[in-house]
């Protein structure tokens, strides 16, 4: 195990799958650093949806999210030679994307336009909606849109760090440790922010939440 792998193993305390993923990413990164620009496409394909989802849930605007995701990949591509594998590529890319999103949010504090992606109803989501309403067809669709709007409004009422933590934990499914590493704070801070953010969301969405 070389030094870089050791570093990745140390930083990614989450799961063996993540470690394996970080190892394969590092191989691709090394190819890109050696001049194989096309290898970067693999990284784009692998992470674009996750990065987009994260940025989208922070901005609640699909056009902004698309632009910011593209910018994050461009920045990562431009700085790939400076990436030395001290963290996983995924963490590094997430940091770039989050910083881009935060900069965008700060610049456009007073301007917020919603534009939502469609909710893809899988079994679990359908179950949640069924619990909330017994409406069918068009009425159900209207209800889901209304719920989506309320949910995004409540998210945007959170401060940026709290929104980031909720997005990364509840929506992207990252662990506390990974979030702490990405946000450069302690795990305790992540936990307390998550707790506080959930309390606020609960207050905002009390007509839906028990």
């Amino acid at each position: 195990m070389n030094a870089t792998t050791k570093t990745i193993a140390k930083t990614l305390v989450a799961s063996p799958e993540r470690q394996q993923e970080a190892g394969s990413d590092w191989m691709i990164v090394q190819r890109v650093q050696a001049g194989d620009v096309a290898a970067f496409d693999q990284l784009i394909l692998k992470y674009r949806e996750r990065v987009y989802a994260m940025v989208y849930n922070m901005t609640a605007n699909r056009e902004d999210a698309a632009d910011l995701t593209q910018d994050a990949f461009i920045k990562a591509f431009q700085s790939i030679n400076r990436f030395q594998g001290q963290s996983s590529f995924f963490t590094w890319l997430y940091r770039i994307a989050i910083n881009s999103a935060l900069t965008h949010l700060r610049r456009n504090k007073l301007r917020s336009f919603f534009s939502f992606d469609k909710v893809h109803e899988d079994a679990k989501v359908a179950e949640v909606i069924n619990q909330l309403t017994d409406k069918k067809d068009v009425d159900r669709e209207v209800f889901v849109n209304e719920l989506q709007e309320k949910l995004n409004e409540a998210m945007l009422k959170l401060s940026i760090p709290h929104r980031t933590v909720v997005t990364l934990f509840e929506i992207d499914g990252l662990s506390h440790e990974e979030i702490a590493e990405i946000m450069n704070c302690s795990v305790g801070t992540v936990r307390s922010r998550l707790h506080y953010a959930k309390q606020l969301l609960q207050g905002e969405l009390q007509s839906y939440v028990r």
């Binding site: 620009v37 995701t69 593209q70 461009i74 431009q78 017994d134 929506i171 969405l205 028990r210």
Partner: protein, 290 residues
């Protein structure tokens, strides 16, 4: 089969379940096609785009490499700075007393011009303290020997403005200030010939804080020059050396004036203070503001 009542309150879910809805918000496949096209265009533009030169310097890496030298470099910088500051303000910090004449001797005749000018210059204190004569200020034979052999009283009797006087007298004498030392020194610096053989005397102000040069023309009333700050002394010193060099090569006067202007402005003490304020110390770090 049971049916829900028409206006029954809907069931509620947990916040985690509700947030699962957000996880299900996903763009369509067409979105990703357009996304990829845009990204490709941006990527090509990024490859073609010339990046600023400072990015290639890799400053963060250089900073990390120099991190281990932060403390010694910071300490050296502080030492150098304090040395410069102490050196700059030592003349201004002189206290009236026996050492004052030595201070004057050290500050005034530094430049070669003033050594020429200062033929016959006597250094004295205005108080009734014992007269101290600087060998650097006095010319070799004509002034040093008589001055050294005379008593303080005799010498003071010869010099009307050096004699002890009452407060009102001293006020009357000091108020009509005729010219500033800056001008006198500057004139002598521009033309360091015999025309400026003032036969001047350097005297300490009774207060002892600042120095004054007493200049007398032959046959005229003594000329009293206002106190001079160390800043002006320093400025004139540098100016005089430069002008002497320029005179020797017979440079054109406009160029000399320009050079003098530049040097005078660069010697501004406010700018020195300003540059000192840009340096800050915090913990084991030395910060420089640009």
């Amino acid at each position: 089969m049971t049916t829900l009542p028409e206006h029954s309150e809907p069931n509620k879910v947990t916040i985690e379940q509700l947030l699962r809805l957000k996880r299900a918000e996903r763009p369509s496949p067409e979105f990703w096609t357009r996304f990829e096209q845009d990204l490709r265009a941006k990527q090509l533009a990024a490859i073609i785009e010339k990046r600023p030169w400072w990015i290639s310097l890799r400053l963060p890496q250089a900073g990390r490499m120099l991190a281990c030298f932060q403390v010694p470099v910071g300490a050296a910088a502080v030492l150098a700075l304090s040395f410069v500051v102490v050196r700059e303000y030592r003349p201004a910090a002189s206290v009236p007393g026996d050492d004052t004449s030595v201070e004057v001797a050290a500050t005034v005749p530094m430049a070669p011009v003033h050594e020429q000018v200062a033929r016959g210059v006597a250094v004295t204190t205005a108080k009734s303290a014992p007269l101290v004569v600087s060998s650097r200020v006095m010319s070799e034979a004509d002034a040093a020997a008589p001055a050294a052999s005379m008593s303080t009283g005799e010498l003071m009797a010869m010099i009307p403005w050096a004699a002890p006087r009452s407060d009102s007298q001293s006020e009357a004498e000091t108020s009509p200030v005729i010219g500033e030392l800056t001008q006198v020194q500057f004139a002598s610096a521009v033309n360091p010939g015999a025309d400026h053989d003032f036969g001047g005397r350097v005297e300490l102000d009774p207060v002892g804080v600042s120095a004054a040069v007493l200049v007398s023309d032959e046959g005229n009333a003594p000329v009293r020059v206002s106190p001079v700050s160390p800043r002006e002394v320093r400025r004139n010193r540098i100016l005089s050396t430069l002008v002497v060099a320029d005179n020797s090569s017979e440079a054109e006067p406009t160029r000399m004036a320009q050079v003098r202007e530049v040097i005078a402005s660069s010697l501004d003490e406010d700018r020195l203070y300003d540059s000192v304020r840009r340096i800050g110390m915090g913990g084991d770090r030395l910060t420089l503001k640009f």
